[in-house]
């Protein structure tokens, strides 16, 4: 039950993009087409799951026993950067088709604050290993969902007559605001 709570909370109630503001750059940048939104979402979810597995292990098995918690930011960001590199090389060699679909998004992910944010929240909320993995999948799913909705709206928006100064980022931010408002409807969805 707690796992379901963590999952839904990360995916919709406290959506990473719309209520924690994590991963705003790709949210505004890559959300022009539905297909690229899906690709980015999948890549992020994938890297997120790998990130929690490795950062959780390092944090609880290395940093805590040696009392090196103060190195966590340096270590986390290096782990994430190398992870993205390794995933990129691995996918390129073993799954060329997948690489063609996700490849261009992978390098962008290192600086995606949603990934580091996920690792930080995992520490902050003192999640166990299983909880962390569920949290990562929920967060990735929520990110993909937000990106998909946004790209759907923006594909239609291309045809709309937006006032000059609002064109581009301005209107995208206002749409995001309205989406955030509507996602508030998910509050209270589940309680334990």
């Amino acid at each position: 039950m707690k796992l379901l709570f963590i999952f839904l909370s990360a995916a919709v109630v406290n959506n990473f993009v719309l209520s924690y503001f994590l991963g705003i750059c790709p949210f505004l940048g890559v959300s022009r087409k539905i297909s690229s939104a899906l690709g980015m979402g999948a890549a992020v979810t994938f890297v997120m799951s790998l990130t929690v597995v490795s950062t959780w292990t390092i944090y609880h098995k290395v940093l805590i026993p040696f009392e090196l918690q103060y190195l966590q930011y340096v270590v986390f960001i290096l782990v994430i950067a190398s992870l993205v590199q390794i995933v990129e090389m691995f996918v390129k060699k073993s799954y060329p088709a997948l690489y063609r679909a996700l490849g261009i998004y992978l390098p962008l992910i290192t600086t995606n604050c949603a990934i580091l944010g996920l690792a930080l929240f995992m520490v902050l909320k003192e999640y166990s290993f299983i909880e962390s993995v569920v949290f990562a999948v929920g967060a990735g799913g929520g990110f993909t969902l937000a990106l998909l909705i946004m790209s759907g709206i923006r594909e239609d928006l291309d045809l709309a007559d937006v006032p000059g100064p609002l064109k581009g980022a301005g209107i995208a931010l206002i749409i995001a605001g309205l989406l955030a408002l509507s996602f508030m409807g998910f509050s209270g969805l589940i309680s334990i």
Binding site: Y20, F21, I24, L116, K167, L173
Partner: protein, 199 residues
């Protein structure tokens, strides 16, 4: 001439190349911590600290760091200063540190800092880098402070917790919610667009 140049490096961060409002970088903290003016100001100062120190160090070391590993080197330097800022806040301003939560460590992935290190500091002398990053940092703080004040005034009728309107004020709750952050920033970006275009 030299002075004029430095002045230019310093000033561009405010309007013409404002990192948040024009370049749309570092939006995550800009949206997340602007619930009150004080939070916004603290975040701005933390970013100025990290941005200035790490880009000056990058600029000093720029000839030493091999090109292939420069991003990794920059990241370590940035993460070091972020940790220092975070530890300082936790030790001396625990309440503020708590309300900023994970957004202080998230400065590590703030694109403004890595962007300035890569685009400016790794190519320029440390004096010019210092003024460039100070200007960018102040521009960032300025944008955050305006948004933070706007949201605090509309949602609580106060600024820096000082009440402005008395008890008759009807708070606009939406502005303190995440939705209010997006709406407020959207309007600010549009206004900035108008200003930049007129010039």
């Amino acid at each position: 001439m030299q002075n004029n140049n430095l002045n230019q490096e310093f000033k561009k961060g405010f309007i013409a190349q404002n990192p948040v409002l024009v370049q749309l970088l570092g939006l995550c903290p800009a949206l997340a911590v602007t619930t009150t003016a004080l939070n916004a100001l603290t975040m701005g100062l933390a970013v100025i600290f990290v941005l200035t120190l790490s880009s000056v160090i990058v600029s000093v070391l720029r000839k030493l760091i091999p090109y292939q590993v420069r991003i990794a080197a920059f990241t370590i330097i940035i993460a070091t200063f972020v940790t220092i800022a975070d530890l300082f806040l936790k030790a001396n301003l625990p309440e503020l540190s708590k309300s900023l939560g994970p957004y202080v460590p998230l400065i590590v992935v703030n694109c403004i800092i890595l962007g300035r290190c890569e685009a400016f500091a790794s190519k320029n002398s440390f004096v010019r880098t210092f003024f460039d990053s100070l200007g960018m940092g102040l521009g960032f703080t300025f944008a955050l402070l305006v948004l933070g004040s706007l949201r605090e005034i509309l949602s609580t009728g106060a600024i820096f917790s000082i009440n402005l309107f008395g008890s008759g004020f009807e708070p606009m709750l939406v502005m303190i919610l995440p939705a209010g952050a997006f709406l407020g920033l959207g309007v600010m970006v549009a206004v900035m667009n108008l200003i930049v275009r007129k010039k």
